[in-house]
């Protein structure tokens, strides 16, 4: 962050606040606040964390607390859903502070972006945006500890250096533990950001280090997880809890006509049946509406719902009520035969295709997918004295807070969102509709906590589905197999349909996920996006539109190599062209994942490097037994680069075995390599599921898969034998 550019203001905003904190906990609470003014009109555009709502904060008062016994508490304000951020951000802060890992704990922040900066945990940006703010916060705290020790010893601060959980006076060898000087340090002014000394790499003890076993920092929630103590969305213990399940409209946009709840009310344990208001289309993050059954326990609520007699009005859903995913696929495939909205064009594709020696085309289809987080949505809410407290597994706690406040007519200050662990997120839990349901019910049972539980059927029927897609590609090759022409038409309903009248076309951020940013060096290219309306709630699903774009483009590149009679790897590298950096704006992408195109250009050198690394590790080119082959793909997603080689066997019966996966991943500097590897392993397994097993279909606007016996997600037997 360029401090000149943003006229940063350093202010010890809340001496009173930290003194109060000190009195209450005996803790070091360091106050400083760097406000981030929003860019004024006419100023340079903002990127990265600067451009996020509520920006970033590097205030040690907000993120670091040291008790007198030396316990260091790091506040984590990002959602933990398996990516390891509660460990990784703590590694950053602990390292910069000089803390001993054994004496560090993590505390989860409530949703409060004015205090913590942006908390919306999606877009693969937690570490990209928070590495430096966390380092600065910890460096400020370390500097204050050194200063406090210097004053205690009456020596120059420059002579004192923080080591591991102690500050040492070099010439005398005296030491003071962090806990001994925490209170004194808290009374010191916060050093200016520009004066902070950030540790160079050779002083890092945790950042970039492996963290399994042998006394190195383990995943911070690991022990709680294996002992069953970790708290997810439905696990918060409160007295007097009520449990609810909700019958939602079977078709997107359908509304309730009538309900007969007499049988449901006879189910032992059922307390009440009530309507929950929906907001129709577009649904945004609001509930779908429906009928809630509230009971003493979840099972009674489920049993009560089973015997509800509900009449729905599907006319209000418009043509969603006739939505048939198989017919829709045909519609999209037909539309892919005709030109659509032109997104990018270079040269004369029609002529180049007509003149080509070899012309190939393929159409790729990807169905709707459900996130199917293994923890179905669940949320707990309690309203008392005009204030509501929430416990929920949400990726966006501030959006949750705002949504609850809006729905209940409360001020955001009267909404406290406690963020539990997420039993998987993948974008599903960016949408707090399920929390708003709980909040609505809590209003009806003032003083009592009400927990809404989605069943798996609810989850699969009412997800914010990954968009169905058709991608049609055509290429023309010369007599040497060299690519002369590339035409790609992509068709998917847009996530924009969730928030506004259906735009029918993909938005910039959707096209920018690997469609218009295709980096191939081909003389004639034409990229088009014909119309595709939405008939269900469409939402972010891990990697989002990169999924169909990468699937289609990389599959087609393999077809082109085959048509050219060339080695797939060599041909792919040729398509990518020589190492160079491309400004994404030159490809028509002004979005670039919100990042500065100068800092995060599309780097063909990095593309090439991951291809070369993965193919080398996989022994590319080696002899394969009959029925076995190596598949290869490379993609740029959320400013990282990934290549993968799969060793696949197909037997005479057509059964597929994936023997191994070799993945090369370049995400830039690594804080927690072990968690990065685990993410890639898991993403590979999920990708295999998407490619081979998972499909949501709809008929008459209704999802046809009820549970995991019908919606297949990968099992241990589907995973590559080695990754």
């Amino acid at each position: 962050m360029n401090s000149d550019r943003y006229n940063l203001r350093l202010a010890n905003v809340s001496r009173r606040h930290f003194l109060k904190g000190l009195a209450a906990s005996g803790a070091l609470v360091i106050a400083a606040r760097w406000d981030v003014p929003m860019a004024q009109q006419g100023e340079a555009p903002q990127y990265g964390a600067d451009a996020m709502p509520h920006g970033w904060v590097d205030d040690p008062n907000v993120f670091i607390r040291i008790d007198e016994d030396g316990t260091v508490t790091i506040i984590n304000h990002r959602a933990e859903m398996g990516q390891g951020i509660r460990t990784s951000l703590v590694m950053v802060a602990a390292d910069e502070l000089g803390a001993d890992w054994e004496r560090v704990r993590v505390e989860q922040a409530i949703g409060h972006e004015e205090r913590y900066g942006n908390q919306n945990t999606d877009g693969s940006r937690s570490m990209r945006h928070w590495f430096n703010p966390f380092r600065r916060a910890a460096a400020a705290a370390r500097t204050m500890l050194e200063q406090a020790a210097a004053e205690r010893w009456n020596v120059p601060a420059a002579a004192c250096r923080a080591g591991v959980h102690v500050v040492t006076h070099a010439s005398s060898g005296r030491e003071l533990g962090f806990g001994e000087i925490a209170a004194a340090a808290s009374r010191l002014p916060v050093p200016d950001r520009d004066t902070l000394r950030l540790k160079p790499r050779d002083e890092w003890r945790y950042i970039g280090q492996e963290n399994t076993g042998n006394g190195r920092p383990l995943a911070i929630d690991g022990a709680d997880i294996v002992n069953g103590r970790a708290i997810y969305g439905a696990d918060k213990a409160l007295d007097d809890k009520l449990y609810a399940v909700i019958a939602r409209p079977p078709v997107y946009g359908a509304t309730l006509v009538s309900v007969d709840d007499s049988a449901a009310l006879q189910v032992p344990g059922v307390v009440r049946v009530m309507e929950i208001a929906g907001t129709g289309q577009p649904a945004g993050f609001e509930p779908l509406g429906g009928v809630a059954v509230v009971a003493d326990n979840t099972w009674a609520a489920i049993e009560g719902r089973r015997v509800l007699e509900i009449e729905w009005d599907t006319d209000s859903a418009g043509d969603n009520a006739a939505y048939d995913s198989a017919a829709y696929r045909q519609v999209l495939e037909e539309r892919a035969q005709s030109p659509g909205k032109v997104i990018r064009t270079r040269g004369d594709v029609d002529t180049a295709l007509a003149d080509a020696q070899t012309r190939i085309e393929e159409t790729y289809y990807m169905p709707h997918l459900a996130h199917a987080t293994i923890e179905p949505p669940a949320a707990l809410a309690r309203l008392a004295d005009g204030k509501i407290e929430i416990w929920a597994p949400v990726q966006a706690p501030q959006a949750t807070r705002d949504g609850v406040a809006n729905r209940l007519g409360l001020a955001p200050e009267d909404v406290v969102v406690n963020q539990t662990l997420l039993g998987g997120g993948f974008g599903r839990k960016s949408k707090p509709d399920f929390v708003l349901e709980a909040a609505s019910l809590a209003r009806e049972f003032e003083g009592r906590p009400v927990q809404v539980q989605w069943t798996r059927e609810d989850d699969l029927h009412h997800d914010y589905f990954h968009a169905v897609s058709v991608d049609r590609l055509e290429a023309g090759l010369d007599r040497d197999g060299k690519a002369l022409a590339w035409r790609h038409r992509t068709l998917s309903p847009s996530i924009g349909s969730l928030f506004a009248p259906d735009p029918l076309h993909k938005g910039d951020f959707e096209l920018g996920m690997g469609f218009n940013t295709v980096p191939f060096d081909i003389p004639a290219m034409r990229l088009e996006n014909p119309e595709a309306p939405a008939h269900v709630r469409i939402g972010w699903f891990r990697a989002v539109y990169n999924l169909p774009h990468a699937f289609a483009i990389q599959s087609f590149a393999a077809e082109m190599a085959a048509a050219a009679g060339r080695d797939h790897r060599d041909y792919l590298l040729e398509l990518l062209g020589p190492a160079r950096q491309i400004d994404p704006r030159d490809l028509g992408d002004t979005w670039n994942y919100g990042e500065d195109p100068a800092r995060y250009p599309i780097d063909i050198g990095r593309f090439r490097a991951v291809v070369e690394t993965a193919t080398e590790a996989a022994g590319w080119g080696r002899e394969r037994p009959a029925g076995r082959g190596l598949g290869l793909a490379v993609h740029h997603s959320f400013v990282s680069y990934t290549a993968i080689v799969l060793d696949v066997e197909v037997n005479d019966a057509g059964e597929v075995t994936i023997h191994s996966a070799d993945i090369a991943f370049d995400c830039g500097p690594q804080v927690n390599p072990e968690r990065i590897r685990s993410q890639m392993e898991g993403a590979c397994v999920m990708g295999i599921g998407i490619a081979m097993h998972s499909e949501i279909t709809l008929s008459e606007g209704r999802v046809e898969q009820d549970n995991f016996h019908q919606y297949q997600i990968p099992r241990i037997t589907h995973a590559p034998r080695s990754i």
Binding site: V226, N297, T298, G423, S678, E681, C684, M686, A719
Partner: protein, 143 residues
């Protein structure tokens, strides 16, 4: 327990006894997140009525560390960093523990067969396989 006989053990554990380590994932014995032991045998508590558990010893993830095999499985899970989100892992550990108590020396095929009913949406399967070998005392690399 004063609950209807037909109430699944899962909900009795979670909502009545307030032991929430046992997780709800599907409700139809398709995912394994709710796995507990009845007299040492792994069962899906979401489809096991409370009446079937009467008079039997119920072990949940909260107590499996008191068992020698269970403790080894938990340690292997931590050593290899198996968990990502962690939600399914209690069920995975319960199932793996039951397997190793029955069969202390399983091979890959046996492990995959035994664990095929436990879903992990994060896709931690390779590490689950390795962790079970590790808990079984197999040399590194055999997985």
């Amino acid at each position: 327990l004063d609950v209807p006989d037909q109430m699944p053990l899962l909900w009795a554990l979670r909502d009545v006894v307030k032991l929430t380590g046992t997780k709800f994932g599907c409700g139809i014995a398709q995912c394994g997140a709710c796995t507990v032991h009845l007299d040492g045998e792994a069962v899906r508590s979401c489809v096991t009525p409370v009446s079937q558990a009467q008079g039997k010893e119920i072990t949940t993830i909260e107590a499996i560390g008191a068992d020698e095999v269970g403790r080894r499985v938990q340690e292997a899970w931590l050593d290899l960093g198996v968990a990502q989100c962690g939600y399914c892992q209690g069920g995975q550990i319960m199932n793996a523990t039951a397997l190793l108590k029955q069969e202390p020396d399983p091979d890959d095929a046996r492990i995959m067969d035994a664990m095929a009913g436990n879903l992990c949406r994060c896709g931690t399967y390779n590490r689950i396989l390795k962790a079970i070998h590790r808990a079984a005392g197999h040399e590194e690399g055999q997985a």
